[in-house]
Subunit: 364 residues, 2 copies
C-alpha cells in the first residue's frame, strides 16, 4: 500500500492507495477515531452499489458499525439540493449525530454530494472518501464539495476536507472503458501542469494504464494525487495557485455546457480544452511543439481532441464569457509554457480564443 499526506495543518489527512484495501475499511475508520457508537452513513450510486455496497456494508457491520445507506441515481443530476435533502432525511432517520461520519463510495458525483451532506449536516460532521473512478483522484482530494444549481454547476457547496481518502485500485476494474479514458485525461493533466517526468512515464505506460495494470495504476494515482495534494496544501481555499488545476477546463466547461452535459464526459471535454490551451500558448509566443505533444499523448489515450462540429461557435463563446475566469474583454486562461509547466495568464484576447475554437472545430 502506498500512502501520502495532504498537508493542511490540523486538517491534514492521508491518502491510502492499494489493491484490495477496501476490505480494511472498518479498521481504518477505527484508526481515524471514527468509533462504532454513532451510526455512519454510506452514500453511493446504483452502479457502484451493484458491485461494492453489500461487501462494504457487511465488513463495516462485522466491525461493529451501525450502517445507514443511501443509493442515488448515477450521474450529474444527483448533485442537487433535492437529493441532498433526501440524504439528510436518511441521516436523521438513522439517528446520525455530531460524532457520526459520512462515507462516499463512488466517483466525483457521489463524493461531491456526500461531501456536502457531511459539510452541512448539523453544521459539519466527519467525512471519508472512497473514490472508485480514476477521475475521482481529483475530486476526492482537496475538500471541494458541492451540488449543482439549474443555472450553474458546483455553485452550492463548501470546503470540507475528508478524514482520509482510501483508493482501492481493484474497484476500478469494473469501470466502463470510456470512463477509464476520461479519468486518465484528468490524471495526465496533473503531469501537464506540474511534472514533465510524469507525462513521459504516462506516455511510455499508456497501454498498461488502459489495461488497468494494478501497479501502473497505483503509481499514476499516487503521483496524480500527490500533485493535487501539493497544490491544495499551498492554496486550500482557491486563492490563486489552485487555479492551475483548471488547465483545459475553461474551454472544457464551455463545451460541457453547450453540449448539454450528456455528449461529452468531463475528461473528454478537458482533453479538447487542454489542446486548446496549448494552441493558445503558441499564440502567446511559446513553442508550437507543446500543442503537438499534448495532442499526441491525448490521442494515444483514445481521447477526443477536436470540438464536435455540430456545436455552435457563438454558443461556445457565450458560455466562455459566463465562465468565472472571464474578466473584461480579455480572458484568464491556464496556459502551458512547456510540457509540465503552466502559467495563469489573464491577458488572453477573446479574439484569439474564438480563432482557436474555430480551429478546434476543423478536421482532426
Amino acid at each position: 500500500m502506498k500512502q501520502l499526506t495532504v498537508d493542511l495543518g490540523e486538517r491534514s489527512y492521508p491518502i491510502y492507495i492499494g489493491e484490495g484495501i477496501i476490505s480494511g475499511l472498518a479498521a481504518t475508520l477505527a484508526n481515524h477515531k471514527i468509533g462504532t457508537k454513532s451510526p455512519i452513513l454510506v452514500v453511493t450510486d446504483e452502479n457502484v452499489a451493484k458491485f461494492y455496497l453489500a461487501q462494504v456494508k457487511d465488513s463495516l457491520e462485522a466491525g461493529g458499525y451501525r450502517v445507514a445507506t443511501a443509493v442515488v441515481a448515477p450521474g450529474e443530476k444527483s448533485k442537487s439540493l433535492a437529493v441532498l435533502e433526501d440524504m439528510i432525511t436518511v441521516a436523521l432517520e438513522a439517528g446520525l449525530d455530531r460524532s457520526s461520519a459520512v462515507i462516499a463510495i463512488g466517483g466525483g458525483v457521489v463524493g461531491d454530494l456526500a461531501g456536502f451532506v457531511a459539510a452541512s449536516y448539523m453544521r459539519g460532521i466527519r467525512f471519508v472518501q472512497i473514490p472508485t473512478t480514476i477521475l475521482a483522484h481529483d475530486s476526492s482530494v482537496g475538500g471541494k464539495v458541492a451540488v449543482n444549481h439549474r443555472l450553474a454547476k458546483n455553485v452550492i457547496g463548501a470546503f470540507h476536507q475528508p478524514e482520509f481518502v482510501l483508493y482501492d485500485t481493484a474497484t476500478l476494474k469494473t469501470l466502463p472503458e470510456r470512463e477509464i479514458r476520461a479519468g486518465l485525461s484528468e490524471l495526465v493533466k496533473e503531469g501537464f501542469i506540474w511534472d514533465r517526468e510524469f507525462v513521459e512515464w504516462f506516455d511510455a505506460n499508456t497501454d498498461k494504464l488502459l489495461a488497468l495494470d494494478s501497479e501502473a495504476l497505483a503509481h499514476a494515482l499516487y503521483i496524480g494525487c500527490g500533485v493535487k495534494a501539493t497544490v491544495v496544501s499551498q492554496d486550500e481555499r482557491e486563492g490563486g495557485l489552485r487555479a492551475i488545476l483548471n488547465l483545459g477546463h475553461t474551454i472544457g466547461h464551455a463545451l460541457e455546457a453547450v453540449s448539454g452535459y450528456d455528449e461529452l464526459l468531463h475528461g473528454e471535454a478537458i482533453a479538447i480544452g487542454m489542446v486548446g490551451a496549448a494552441m493558445l500558448s503558441e499564440k502567446l509566443g511559446n513553442p508550437g511543439s507543446i500543442a503537438v505533444e499534448t495532442e499526441r499523448i491525448l490521442r494515444k489515450l483514445g481521447l477526443p481532441v477536436r470540438i464536435p462540429s455540430h456545436l455552435d461557435t457563438d454558443a461556445i463563446m457565450s458560455a466562455l464569457m459566463h465562465d468565472k475566469k472571464f474578466k473584461e474583454g480579455t480572458m484568464v486562461f491556464i496556459i502551458p509554457t512547456a510540457i509540465g509547466e503552466v502559467e495563469i495568464n489573464s491577458n488572453v484576447s477573446s479574439v484569439w480564443v474564438r480563432e482557436i475554437v474555430e480551429r478546434l472545430k476543423g478536421e482532426a
Copy 2:
C-alpha cells in the same frame, strides 16, 4: 456608537451598536473592504422590507453598490432548502461572484437563511449581519447559520462568521410588542448564564427596555452581545462551553416542537424553559431562591412562565428524548447554580424532568 469585538483570530469581527447607524452602511462596507465592483445581495423578509429596504437600497446605491434584493416570507418556513435555492437563483442572475457579499437585514430567520446562502454560494462568500430584532443579538453573533429540515430545526447549515454585525437600535422601534418581550427573554438569559450584575441592571431597567429606550437598549445589547461573543470566542464550533448558551432551550425546544412552532415564540418557550431549569436546579440541591428570582424577573417582562396546560406531558417528554442533549436515561441540562452562573449537568434524571414538566403545567 458602541463597538465590541468577537475574538476569533483571523476570523475576528466587530459588532457596532447605535441609533441610526444603518445610514452609514455603505461606508462601513467600504471600511471592511467590501467594494463596489461585485454586486451584493440584500436578503430580508416582507415585514422588515416594508420599513427599511427602500432606504437601505437607496443608500447603498448612492454609495456606488449594485444591489440585488431577495425578500422572503416572514417566519420559520423561509428557513428551507427550497428558499435557499431561490436565493441562489437571485444571486446567480444578479451575477454575484466570489468577491460579492450577502447582507442579512432582519431577525434570526433572515440571518440564519442569508448566512447559509453566503456560506454555500460558490463555497463561501462574505456575509454581513444587520439584526432588526432583539432576539437576533443571539443569532447574529457566532456564525451559526442554517435552514430547517422537515424532521428537525437548524439541521442543515454551517459555521460562517460575518464580516461585521451592525445593530441599529432605531430599527427595533417597529417590532411588535410580543417580539420585544420574547427578545428580552433571550437577552436576559445572557445575564442568567454569565453576569449577575447584568440581571440586576435588567431587573432595575425593565420598564425602559420594554419602552425601547434607546440608551438602555444599546447598553443591554452591548452586554448581551458581549456575553455571546465571549462564549463563542472560547468555543467557536460548539465543542463544549458554547452549550451554556442553551439555558432554557432543552425544555424550550421541546415546547416549540410539541406546540407546532406557532403557539409560542422562541423567547417565550425558553422563558418557560429557564424556569424549568431553575426548578431542576433546586432538585439538584441548589437554593430554591434561584427559581423564585428567575420566575419573578421573567414575569416582570411579561413572559409566560408556565407550560400551556393543553400540551401533553408525554408528548413533551418524547420531544425531550429526541433532543440532541439527551443521553441514555439521564439527560444533559444547563443548570443555574446561582443567578448569573450555570453548569452543564449530564446527570439529570428523566424522572425529575417529568416531575418539573408536570409542575410547570400547574397553576401559574
